[in-house]
Symmetry: C2
C-alpha cells in the first residue's frame, strides 16, 4: 500500500472550476482497480488550498492511475487553474498495516 | 466530516521510538467514537518525515480526541522526538461527501 499526498494551490477565480474538474477525476479514480481512497480536501484556513489523498494497493496500481484518460483530462483542465505546480509526496503506510482496514 | 493533516519532522535518532509511540496512539484513536480514519504515513524520500491523516465525523469528535488519555500520552512522549513543532492543517471534506464511503 502507498499513499500520495498532493498539495495544490489554486487561483481564486478558478476555485469553482477546479472543484468541478477534481470531482470528475475523483468519481473515476475511486473505480480504478487497486484504488483504496481518493479523498479531496479543502484547507479550512485557505479556500484556494486543496489536498488529494490518493491511496493504492500497489506501486503498479498507483502508476496506472497516471495512464488513465480521466487523469490526463484532469491534468489538462487544471493546468490553467493552479497558482503554481502541485506538489506530490509519496509515502509508505505504517498504519493501518492490514489491507482490509483500507476497504 | 473533517480531516486534520499533521506534518511531523522527527530527529533521526528517535525515528523508531516515534513510530512506536504513534502506533500506540493509532490503535486507540481508531476506536474513538466518530473516528473515521487515523492513517500513519512515512515520506518515501525522507524517513524522518511523517504524516497523520485524522478523519472524524464531526468537529466535536475531532475535539474530543485531544481530551483522550492516549492523545495526551502521545503528545508528551513525542515532544522530545520531534525536530520542530508539528504542523496541523484542518480541512473540510469535498469528496467523498457521503459518510458510508468513509466506513
Amino acid at each position: 500500500m502507498l499513499v500520495t499526498l498532493v498539495d495544490i494551490q489554486v487561483k481564486g477565480e478558478f476555485v469553482k472550476k477546479f472543484i468541478e474538474a477534481t470531482r470528475d477525476n475523483y468519481k473515476k479514480s475511486v473505480r480504478e482497480p487497486g484504488n483504496l481512497r481518493f479523498d479531496f480536501l479543502q484547507d479550512e484556513a485557505d479556500p484556494c488550498h486543496f489536498f488529494l489523498y490518493e491511496a493504492y494497493e500497489s506501486e503498479e496500481a498507483a502508476a496506472n492511475h497516471k495512464n488513465t484518460d480521466h487523469y490526463r483530462l484532469w491534468k489538462e483542465r487544471v493546468e490553467e487553474y493552479m497558482k503554481n505546480p502541485r506538489k506530490g509526496t509519496k509515502t509508505r503506510v505504517i498504519e493501518p498495516v492490514e489491507l482490509h482496514n483500507w476497504k
